[in-house]
């Protein structure tokens, strides 16, 4: 190390070191589980990916924002890091394990850095090693953040899919539609149910709409309110709404909570509700042989 370098600040030393030793660092990192398991096609590809990360680290070091997770230098590798974290997650690694794998990248680099100095135990070397450690700690955070972002995105997407999948509107008979509700009914889902039910009422020209809550585990005052809103909206559209599938335990809960469902037409089962809707439309369902024997 020359006199000039000694005067430079630790982050700059780290940056120029990363720049100069890029090839060596990349070669060492490429064998780490984190890179090797993601870039399985060729080792060269892994080396290239490592170089990109080293470049990013060097850029962050120059900017002096060693501890800034959202430093602009990380922007370019964020995608790549996210992909790596996602691959590791799919392979069964927990977030903690991934963090450990990123942490393991530190040792080879710090070793290399110490070799740079004439006096590996001197204050200069110590300070630079500290700066590099800090920088790699930030890299670890960036990887975790990216991985968590990817997870949050996945959860959001699945939530949307669940909303769409879990609320089919079924045509039971000419002029009668039913929605079998399954799972907990929250505001977002009840909104979707209401919208799809009203659309179906218009499309099918339905006079009767059945809300079947057999699959709803619990009914509290909020769920009851959602049900009543849906019933009211269906009525405004000119359809009569029947709530069916109220299990004995749920009926007891509703009574104990003091929820007034008096304005809502209820039936014990979906079959009863359908029978009611049919009879109101003047449709009679009878056994074929019963008619024959009567003759």
């Amino acid at each position: 190390m020359s006199e000039q370098d000694a005067a430079a600040s630790a982050p700059q030393v780290v940056s120029s070191f990363l720049e100069q030793r890029k090839e060596q660092i990349a070669q060492r990192w490429a064998d780490a589980a984190l890179f090797r398991s993601v870039f399985t096609i060729s080792r060269d590809e892994a080396v290239e990916a490592c170089k990109a990360v080293v470049d990013a680290l060097s850029e962050v070091a120059v900017s002096g924002q060693l501890e800034n997770v959202s430093a602009p230098g990380f922007t370019d590798v964020r995608d790549q890091l996210g992909r790596m974290a996602a691959t590791r997650t799919r392979a069964g690694s927990t977030p903690g394990q991934i963090a450990d794998e990123v942490a393991r990248l530190r040792e080879p680099v710090v070793d290399l850095l110490r070799e740079e100095f004439a006096d590996p135990a001197g204050p200069q070397a110590h300070e630079s090693a500290l700066a590099l450690t800090l920088l790699l700690g930030t890299l670890r955070l960036v990887v975790m953040e990216t991985a968590l972002d990817a997870n949050a995105e996945l959860i959001e997407r699945q939530r949307q899919q669940l909303l769409e999948v879990a609320t089919p509107v079924i045509k039971l008979w000419e002029g009668t539609v039913a929605v079998p509700l399954i799972g907990t009914l929250d505001s977002a889902r009840s909104q979707v149910v209401m919208e799809s039910l009203l659309e179906a009422i218009v499309d099918q020209r339905a006079r009767y709409a059945i809300l079947d809550i057999t699959g709803v585990p619990t009914v509290d005052s909020l769920v009851a309110q959602h049900l009543m809103k849906t019933v009211a909206a269906a009525r405004l559209m000119g359809a009569e709404c029947i709530v069916s599938g109220i299990r004995p335990a749920i009926a007891q809960t509703i009574v104990q909570l003091g929820i007034d469902l008096g304005s809502v037409l209820t039936r014990a089962s979906l079959a009863d509700a359908l029978a009611y809707a049919l009879s109101r439309q003047g449709i009679e369902v009878s056994r074929a042989d019963a008619g024959a024997s009567a003759r």
Binding site: R205, R235, L236, G238
Partner: protein, 126 residues
């Protein structure tokens, strides 16, 4: 608000189909128009043999508390004069907004469209 919007008629036409009055609301309803409409309907019911009033709101994008009250008032007035009022053709979005606002229009009979409303009137009339 009392000024009618240019391009919109100041008066809402009330059509007579046999013994049924048909009113089709379009777009926004202003205070003056609402008052005029209530007046027209009441007069028509009292002067001719009217047993039902069908209010078609399929052309209405938004029903607020004001329009809700006007509709309820028309229904109550018509009931006093022995005519049934049916609200027809509410759009799903309008129904959802009304319910979210807590306006469930309890005193009004509703139907999917004008066709259904006429059917309902003839059923109950017989």
């Amino acid at each position: 608000m009392n000024q009618p919007t240019p391009g919109l008629p100041a008066q809402i036409p009330v059509l007579a189909l046999g013994d049924v009055l048909l009113v089709s609301l379009q777009g926004e309803l202003h205070d003056g128009m609402a008052e005029q409409l209530q007046h027209d309907i009441t007069n028509r019911i009292s002067t001719s043999r009217v047993t039902g009033v069908v209010i078609d709101i399929s052309g209405v994008d938004m029903v607020d508390s004001f329009l809700g009250r006007v509709l309820a008032e028309i229904a109550s007035t018509a009931r006093l004069l022995a005519a049934r009022t049916i609200l027809a053709g509410m759009r799903p979005a309008v129904a959802i907004t009304l319910v979210e606002l807590g306006l469930t229009l309890p005193g009004l009979v509703t139907a999917l469209d004008v066709d259904r409303a006429m059917e309902l009137l003839s059923q109950r009339g017989s």
